[in-house]
């Protein structure tokens, strides 16, 4: 038998269902991998060793009795330490919240458990998911590489094979950035698709919860388990959830992908990324997709609009924490919360109105060109040396451009997915981002799957795995 940790969720699920392997086998293998890698990558804040074993045994008993809950039955997965889970503290990456008990289960935790998943542990996040401090997590692709964030631990764990899949959150790119840097598929679903109930908020009108996996099919399987209306989340939208797997391997002939070449091939995008992206466009054409040139000159306003909303909402959410325990916050996070306090209310309203306009301009772009999706490099660079994060050259933070590239999907609420599209000359993963119409996650999976199956990149583990 091959090493089960090299299996995708879909493959492990098949073996489990046929009882060729047990959930306890998968759980023990995952726990052993955590033991072997954690001192280098620091992906986890909590490992639920005994609870995971107990759950795995229960899942195995169910299988023995003929009960199969679905493709996540018995699969070890991780959740970001922003999600409440009863019996497990939720610190949201902050010393100011260390040891805080979870008051309930997050909706996503409930759904994962109903689907039969074994929640193996909670992963490292940037403080409050703001993404401005430097957490201890390191990339499995290189110990000196920034693993991305704020879902840093989720990305590192899935890449290192110390979880089969993980849950992240995304307020300005926090699922897609670490997914791209770790060579994974990561989905920020449509706003309202996945409940945020029981998730420590950062910016309630920008926050999203979504899956991070090694393959597109796994991403679809995880979304299937966690998607759906939840009245406990005021942002949840009662849109029916389709079956994502049927049709995932349909051909993409005639589908229309919009590309803004002024952005994709701009000076800010590193040459290796441009080269990988150019090749990906050719491969999409070879699959029969049409590449349509578009321009979206307002794209450079997505980040200022998103940031203004984020600053105001985050400071409103965490103002009490700032006042009561500001001295225990990381200085970088504290400054952001202070900054949000000092913004005039008129700026927030202006940003909300601009957001409405940008969403409407985006719709017009999709409609005018008959687009199924937009395609772009996920990040401008394949990696960032960790020392540059501590001491940015000339005062510029290397992740600023990355946030500019990803914020648009949060501002518009559109679903956006990153998939690997090759490697840099130094061997670091590169990602491409697809953005679709509202609730068209199925379109994203179909487009991503058509590209993914041309390559064996999902089989290629990082050095530290």
């Amino acid at each position: 038998m091959t090493d089960p940790l090299t299996w995708s969720i879909a493959r492990a699920a098949e073996r489990l269902r046929r009882r060729e392997v047990s959930s306890l086998d998968l759980t023990e293998a995952t726990l052993a991998r955590i033991d072997a890698t954690e001192d280098r990558i620091h992906a986890y804040v909590t490992v639920r060793t005994e609870e995971a074993r107990t759950t795995a045994r229960a899942r195995d008993r169910e299988l023995a009795e003929g009960r199969w809950r679905g493709p996540l039955h018995g699969i070890p997965v991780a959740i970001k330490d922003l999600l409440y889970m009863e019996g497990t503290p939720t610190a949201a990456g902050s010393a100011a919240l260390a040891g805080t008990p979870s008051p309930s289960n997050a909706a996503v935790v409930e759904r994962l458990e109903e689907a039969g998943a074994v929640i193996i542990g909670k992963t490292v996040t940037h403080e409050l998911a703001y993404g401005v401090n430097i957490p201890p997590t390191r990339s499995p692709w290189g110990e000196n590489c920034y693993p991305g964030g704020s879902s840093a631990g989720s990305g590192a764990a899935v890449a290192a094979r110390s979880a089969f899949g993980a849950i992240g959150t995304d307020t300005g790119g926090s699922i897609r950035e670490p997914s791209s840097l770790n060579g994974l598929t990561g989905l920020k679903p449509t706003f309202g698709r996945v409940s945020r109930y029981g998730v420590v908020p950062l910016s309630p009108s920008l926050d999203h919860v979504g899956p991070m996996t090694r393959t597109v099919t796994d991403c679809a399987l995880m979304l299937q388990a966690i998607a759906g209306y939840d009245p406990r989340d005021p942002g949840s939208i009662p849109e029916p959830v389709p079956a994502y797997l049927p049709g995932i391997d349909w051909p993409i002939h005639g589908m229309r992908l919009g590309v803004d070449r002024a952005f994709a091939f701009s000076a800010g995008i590193e040459p290796d990324v441009q080269e990988a992206f150019r090749t990906a466009l050719q491969e999409y054409e070879a699959e029969g997709a049409q590449i349509i040139d578009i321009t979206f000159p307002e794209a450079n306003l997505m980040s200022p609009v998103g940031l203004t909303i984020l600053l105001a909402e985050a400071s409103q959410e965490h103002g009490e924490l700032l006042r009561a325990r500001g001295d225990r916050l990381d200085p970088a996070t504290r400054v952001m919360l202070e900054l949000g306090e000092l913004l005039p209310g008129t700026h927030y309203i202006t940003a909300l109105r601009a957001r409405t306009l940008l969403a409407s301009l985006m719709r017009r772009t999709f409609d005018a060109h008959g687009l199924d999706a937009l395609i772009a490099p996920t990040l401008p660079a394949p990696t960032v040396p960790i020392e540059q994060m501590y001491a940015p050259p000339a005062g510029e933070d290397p992740m600023t451009d990355a946030i500019n590239a990803s914020f648009g999907a949060n501002v518009t609420g559109l679903p956006a997915l990153t998939i690997p599209c090759g490697f840099s000359r130094q061997g670091y993963p590169i990602g491409l981002q697809l953005t679709a119409r509202p609730f068209a996650e199925g379109t994203l999976f179909r487009l991503a799957h058509a590209y993914e199956r041309r390559h064996d990149w999902t089989e290629r583990p990082p050095e530290l795995a």
Binding site: N300, L301, V305, L310, T356, D397, A402
Partner: protein, 70 residues
């Protein structure tokens, strides 16, 4: 700081930052003030960029509903 695009110009006066914060009930550590003075300048510049959009006819996106709900 990852989110903010650097702009040119002088940071806002430090004493203004401290006074504003005090009025809001915030005690800002001295070490945060220089960074905050620069960040607030950059954020105001970001909003000026947003204001280049034509927002005529774009209303407040959160309608107020005066009905009483159970």
């Amino acid at each position: 700081m990852a989110y903010l695009q650097s702009t040119e110009g002088e940071p806002l006066p430090a004493d203004l930052i401290v006074l504003l914060a005090e009025a809001l009930g915030l005690t800002i550590p001295a070490e945060d003030v220089p960074q905050l003075a620069t960040a607030l300048r950059d954020q105001f510049a970001a909003v000026h960029r947003i204001e280049t959009l034509n927002l005529d006819g774009i209303g407040h996106p959160r309608p107020f509903d005066p009905r009483w709900h159970d």
